[in-house]
């Protein structure tokens, strides 16, 4: 073990981390033994109040993506990163609650491929199951890379050792039953993360002299940065719109279009409405009304998460020596990956510089928890799709339950090993957000196009279902490769936005063309799957009309929408 670690943790920090894991594993063990009928009752989920499923919903997403990626983005691009929340998440969460949730809840599907099977049959199911499984493995790699980064920063172990150890930790978390109480853990994790990031933000702001000190420092840094470093002008870093640095478009108009259509519509609707790692949380509620309210309630805290992840990133970029150097075009040594500081390290480095021992441990516990839970969720999603959607349906039918359980366990181990390799791809990216958005463009954008068309257009045929998915994914990959080869020149996350938008358009156009020349499913098979074929009473909860307005889905969504519009104008 090297003595020269990025973070100097003391016994106090380790104690706080240990307490967290004690809690999580303790809940897992209790859940497994089912010591009382009350825990049974809770885990079956039917009693979970909406605020709990709402927090679990955003917590399932408050992992690698948000914490490291968004603070990296904050350090690199500044305030425009808020688009990932106010344009790129909240509207889609509201749409999910108001429009899509009734179909998921009502059609009783438990995975995306299952919905595809019911709506389009085998072709689309197979394509979607394979691409979903691949996507989960790649995203698990991102979580694992970040987890290993923390292990490396804490203990100074070589990165490949850290990867293997982190993989082993996740495996033991899954086997020890950490996942059986997933919703409990996610809600706990939410509070631990807020409890550590809020002080980090406040202390960071205090150190740079408050918000005005931060804007002054960012302005000074942007003015003095060498032109070669390509730092965005301070005005662009401190105003969310038009966000040219983020989208990579020079023209403010194209930048706004790119953000609203590429990020706000295709990427984010695709992500939030088809990502069952999150959608499943809403399924744990007791009625269609509670399921619809889950993402809407989640939208309220989600609006304010950027203040505790992006602001620390921005502070880090003007306070931490290595980050200042990096932003000026330097390549400082060190960092969590072991070969040079990257924007991904913004948060870890800020923690090192401003948190005293004690709070540091709390922050480390929060980060470890988030990545571990994130990766465990990816792996269990992979496990389900692999064992049931692929293995059982296409390879070995009609075996015993035990057989599929064994396959599932093997799949879990295999997925963890594969994630160690996909983590290498993730580590090749300086800003992990660029990579994630690229992946979402490949997998979620075409899926969303097929979903939305299939849900609202009953004429869409089974053939169109799989053709659209394949063509959409291939076109996104083509755009990405063109961008990588330098044919399309869009810095920032513009290439990912463009790839996603292309995939969406190609998917929609091809699906329509193919549908017109092939044979649709009879309308009788589309009940509960297509909007026009689903009776209104199947889509709403009859009890909801009797509730006070603040417990009804649509008024709540309206308030969230107004709030997010105000935030967009304010910053």
């Amino acid at each position: 073990m090297s003595s020269d670690t990025l973070i100097n943790a003391s016994w106090l920090d380790y104690l706080l981390v240990a307490i967290y894991f004690g809690f999580v594993l303790g809940i897992g063990v209790m859940a497994r033994r089912q010591v009382s009928d009350s825990i049974d009752f809770f885990l079956s989920g039917r009693s979970l109040p909406a605020w709990v499923t709402g927090l679990a919903f955003i917590s399932a997403n408050l992992g690698a993506v948000e914490i490291m990626g968004m603070s990296a983005n904050g350090a690199q691009f500044g305030l425009p990163t808020v688009h990932y929340f106010w344009v790129g998440a909240v509207p889609a969460m509201l749409f999910l609650g108001v429009v899509m949730m009734p179909f998921y809840y009502g059609s009783k599907v438990r995975s995306v491929p299952e919905f595809m099977f019911k709506r389009f049959g085998t072709g689309a199911h197979l394509v979607n199951a394979i691409s979903f499984a691949v996507a989960q493995l790649l995203i698990a790699g991102v979580n694992l890379a970040l987890l290993a980064g923390i292990v490396h920063a804490l203990l100074g172990w070589p990165i490949w050792v850290a990867l293997v150890v982190a993989g082993a930790i996740v495996l033991s978390y899954i086997t020890l039953g950490g996942l059986s109480a997933a919703i409990y853990n996610e809600v706990l994790q939410f509070f631990v993360i807020v409890a550590s990031l809020l002080p980090l933000t406040l202390i960071g702001l205090h150190r740079v002299g408050g918000w005005s000190g931060l804007t002054d420092k960012i302005t000074a840094a942007a003015d003095s940065a060498p032109a070669s470093a390509g730092v965005a002008p301070a005005a662009q870093q401190l105003e969310s719109w038009p966000g040219q640095a983020l989208s990579g478009f020079d023209s403010p108009l194209f930048s706004v279009i790119g953000i609203v259509f590429g990020l706000g519509f295709v990427l984010s609707f695709g992500y939030w409405t088809t990502n069952f790692v999150e959608v499943q949380r809403a399924m744990a509620s007791d009625s269609i009304s509670a399921a619809r309210k889950t993402p809407i309630i989640g939208a309220f805290p989600k609006m304010f998460v950027p203040f505790i992840v992006i602001v620390p990133g921005m502070v880090s970029a003007v306070l931490v020596k290595e980050m200042i150097d990096l932003k000026n075009g330097g390549s400082p040594a060190g960092g969590a990956s072991g070969d040079g500081v990257a924007y991904n390290d913004a948060l870890l480095l800020l923690m090192r510089d401003v948190l005293p021992n004690g709070l540091l441990g709390l922050a480390i516990a929060g980060l470890l928890a988030a990545f571990m839970a994130g990766m465990a969720a990816n792996i269990s999603a992979f496990n389900t799709v692999f064992s049931y959607d692929l293995w059982q349906r296409y390879i070995r039918k009609n075996h015993s339950d035990d057989y599929y359980l064994r396959i599932g366990r093997l799949a879990t181990v295999a997925a963890t090993v594969i994630a160690i390799f996909t983590a290498q791809i993730a580590m090749g990216y300086d800003n992990v957000m660029n990579y994630l958005q690229t992946l979402f463009g490949f997998f979620n954008a075409p899926l969303f196009a097929t979903f939305i068309l299939g849900m609202f257009w009953k004429r869409m045929t089974p053939t169109a279902g799989w053709v659209g998915l394949v063509a959409g994914t291939l076109s996104a990959i083509a755009v990405d490769r063109l961008a990588a080869a330098g044919v399309i020149d869009l810095p920032g996350q513009g290439a990912a936005f463009l790839a996603a938008s292309t995939a969406f358009v190609v998917d929609i156009v091809l699906s329509i063309v193919v549908s017109l020349v092939t044979k649709p499913k009879p309308a009788s098979e589309l009940k509960g799957l297509v909007y026009s074929e689903t009776p209104r009473e199947d889509r709403t909860d009859p009890h909801e009309a009797a509730m006070p307005w603040y417990q009804r889905t649509v008024p709540l969504a309206g308030i969230a929408l107004v709030m997010v519009i105000i935030l967009n104008f304010a910053f």
Binding site: L16, I19, D40, F41, F42, H206, V354, L362, L405
Partner: protein, 102 residues
Amino acid sequence: MSDDTTGGAPHKAGAFDIRNIIGALMGVYGIILALAGLFGEHEPEKTGGVNANLWTGIALIVVSAAFIGWAQLKPIVVPAEVERPDDDPTRPAPQRKRPPAH
């Protein structure tokens, strides 16, 4: 744990109420951090002079008290008959019971 009463009377969720679990974790963290703030070195050069451990500790103790108090004031009552979840055992996450077929 749960206040078991005789017969089929409803009992409370007690320790399994998620608000109590949140309260307990936040409380333990709050106490440890407050003690670290009082008796440990508080590294003012990092925080810019603020005793961050102490303040965070106090805030966490307040949050903890609020959650436990909430759970005490409005306990969740478990119905006497709890149906077993019929979910797929291979899916580790808690799952809703499938709604009855329409």
